[in-house]
């Protein structure tokens, strides 16, 4: 008889480009998002959670992100009893679904509509180091208001949000620019449209990376980049490039001086003047709201997204220094960005509806909070009640029930209790601060053993320190004082840590 073919076992792997989150990576993000939602809610923004799936038709074919124009979506074709139907896809951001939802429900939604949304989005990109295909976004947008007060409000809210999650004032800055000002500068240069204009726009986008001198070279003859490759320039004469450089470097000591520099840069371009007026309104509103230049500044060097947005553009940057992978100091950098886009629902309805909004990079902001020590790096585990006597499981369950009723995280060991060493190893792996032991002898005497696992670990590390000797790492307490004594010990540990 032929041997039956063995089915190969499936591989247990996270799909490439995806991640699993464990323990406090989940809860810390969840808490941060709750805090952000609280600020957004207080500003009058309403929650929206659209479906993760959209029709490809509603999504549109391309991502708005200029860095990755060919990046794709995860898509499949509907099938109904063999008949092929519509193409569906996972959302790639939270703005495209907002456009669909607003177009669909615009008669029932208030106008203006302030909404926030948070959740995963998916990008069908080639996975790479640090490049994930599923990640969280957290957006707030105001749809249906052309007022600069909407933009100013988003900037103020972004500032409040960063402080609410634990980035102290002084460690971040919200920077504001305006696409119309740039358009005005290009108009003054005679670059209303055409290839040169596009090339200039692309060059400006590199300002963040290559700086003023680099942009000068790239607007002119070209530039030898770090890898030794020669990058052809746009080919402008130095004096032709000057207005762009003037724009990018026009930030002065205060908003009034910056705005005056920008007015000079846009000359008599109508759109340019409009852009400077808009920035002036935003600056005045923020000033009246008490948001000084220690929190929000007009800064024409913000170029990220200038190609995508149609009016004001804003970006939140963390200004404290961290060490990069090579041990060099550098600023933490951008954690949020946004701006005004006036074609949100036009694809669906034909009507232009003004909108402005911001997106927070959830993972980067979490990383920043960890960097600042605002989030614990190792979560304290539960109190572990060990099992000395398999037949008295009910006694041990009663202990954890009492501890939990007092709000103390606690669990009973549920593995095979035979080997007591395994139970302590388990407690260790759980980062348990305390283990409880009650064998037959303890039971008879009406006491339990309380083992201080944090002190125990410290003693193991610093065996010679005299001070530890005064505090025993294991002691017995009357059974009926268990909860009180464990609570006291946990508080003592909090002070020590």
């Amino acid at each position: 008889m032929a041997k039956p073919k063995k089915q190969p076992r499936p591989k247990a792997v996270t799909p490439k480009g995806f991640r699993d989150y464990f323990g406090q990576d989940v809860t810390q993000r969840s808490e941060m998002l709750q805090t952000i939602a609280g600020v957004y809610h207080r500003y009058g923004f309403d929650a929206l959670e659209s479906s993760a799936v959209e029709t490809v038709e509603a999504l549109g074919k391309f991502l708005p992100d200029v860095d990755r124009p060919n990046a794709g979506v995860f898509a499949w074709q509907e099938e109904d009893e063999g008949d092929k139907g519509e193409w569906m896809a996972l959302r790639y951001d939270l703005t495209a679904p907002l456009a669909r939802v607003y177009a669909q429900h615009r008669n029932d939604l208030p106008t203006p509509y302030r909404r926030y949304a948070m959740g995963p989005v998916w990008r069908n990109e080639k996975p790479g180091p640090g490049r994930y295909r599923q990640f969280y976004q957290c957006d707030a947008d105001t749809v249906g208001s052309a007022s600069m007060a909407a933009d100013a409000e988003i900037c103020a809210m972004l500032s409040d949000t960063l402080e609410a999650v634990g980035i102290p004032r002084g460690d971040y800055i919200v920077r504001v620019n305006n696409r119309k000002v740039l358009n005005g500068v290009l108009e003054v240069m005679g670059l209303e449209e055409g290839e040169t204009r596009e090339a200039v726009l692309r060059t400006i986008d590199k300002f963040d990376k290559v700086g003023e001198a680099g942009v000068r070279e790239l607007l002119g003859k070209g530039r030898l980049d770090a890898s030794g490759a020669y990058i052809d320039g746009v080919g402008l004469a130095p004096e032709q490039a000057e207005p762009v450089i003037a724009f990018l470097t026009s930030r002065a000591d205060d908003a009034a001086a910056t705005l005056s520099n920008l007015r000079a840069a846009v000359g008599d371009s109508a759109v340019g003047v409009e852009g400077v007026d808009e920035l002036e309104q935003i600056a005045a509103l923020l000033d009246a709201g008490g948001y000084g230049s220690d929190r929000i500044v007009i800064d024409p060097s913000v170029v990220r997204g200038l190609g995508y947005y149609t009016g004001p553009v804003y970006e939140a940057e963390l200004t404290f220094e961290i060490l990069d992978e090579k041990g060099r100091k550098r600023q933490f950098g951008s954690v949020a960005g946004g701006g005004r886009y006036d074609d949100l629902v036009k694809r669906f309805t034909g009507q232009e509806v003004p909108a402005t909004g911001v997106s927070i990079g959830v993972d980067r902001l979490l990383a920043a909070l960890r960097e600042k020590g605002r989030l614990g790096s190792v979560e304290r585990g539960p109190v572990v009640v060990t099992v000395m006597d398999r037949d008295r499981m009910a006694d041990y369950q009663a202990m954890v029930a009492e501890l939990r009723s007092a709000g103390i995280r606690a669990e009973v060991y549920l593995g095979n209790p035979k080997n007591f060493g395994n139970q302590l190893k388990y407690a260790d792996r759980r980062n348990a601060p305390v283990a409880i032991i009650e064998g037959a002898e303890e039971k008879e005497r009406g006491i339990v053993q309380v083992k201080d696992l944090i002190l125990g670990a410290q003693i193991a590390e610093n065996a010679t320190l005299e001070e530890w000797k005064e505090r025993p790492s294991q002691f017995e307490v009357p059974r009926d004082t268990l909860v009180a004594r464990v609570r006291a010990l946990l508080e003592e540990q909090d002070v020590q840590v």
Copy 2:
């Protein structure tokens, strides 16, 4: 010249079978999940958030849910520069990803591993009324423990969870059964395997719907169902069917009597006796933990999932009555279910790992809380500061900033302020409790108008009531008392509502 072809506009519709959630439908679910996570955490369960996407290989082909064996997943094939790759799919539940994650990380995870997970899952089913293709699940499982203490703990936790989210004791019951007891009954009947056994199992699954008499008929000759169709029976003689009926109806006044009935039903079947012993252990542990029969009962009539699970099975049912769509009273019914399954990771590793867990039906539980009036049906909106003078937007922004600093949800009107009526209509649509008005005259006098919109609405409805006349629906207050007066008014409204 030929007219350029017009691109048809995309339709703005939620994909069929999917939903969008607005405002408090999002926040109430989020709050409920936070509360549940809090209970789970206190029990020592750790959060896990796996990726929404899995390889089809890791998921396995079929859903575990016996009701819909052919239901599918949303799947697509990876593509790398034209080359077709692996098939990927959206997760259809939270158990299959747990199996993959546990198999993948079993050497780094504690054993036993208690984890909870909450999030959307996707089913590629034909959409229908009340049948959605994306919905939330909220699971807790203990992997790697064969102890009945793990099952008892899950039942206790389920009971605590229901009370924590607002289902009072007496309005729910957690019922516990055991697949091994049923196996014992079938063994006693001589139905260890084969078609008859399968037919009996399928029939038992209908006990919820057709009751004792219905199951009797279906185990025998057959039954005329409500629609008039005749359903063929299994064909057992009445006395042959008796052990199954005895099993299903063996619940007595207390656990001891129920267990004694079950012992009689399983006779000397080894697996049956094992099942009764397991139930006895669970009952003893719950009793010791103070979970009486007002919260958790041994009830052999729980049949949902008996075909899927391998040991204890549990279900939480809400016992209060609601009116169904036809106005008839009926019990709210099941909101959570689970049980023990011992083949969780065997597909991946070849090793049997015992596991037990529960899944809460998030949407049904939310519906129940709304039914019990535990969740507000209409959320109070923000305080709306109206715009009387477009040029003084900074003044209005300063007001909302003050209100927000005091923790009061507030916003300034951002639409076109020309038509004041539109501003009040907007406030109405936002369910605003209060509107603030400050025109040029008020500004000059240093006061603002406070409009009580809730009282205003009540007066509009009950114009004749004398009592309202004592309280004006609009009054003026000094500008510098704005925050205090608005807070006082909101508190007064809370009392009135």
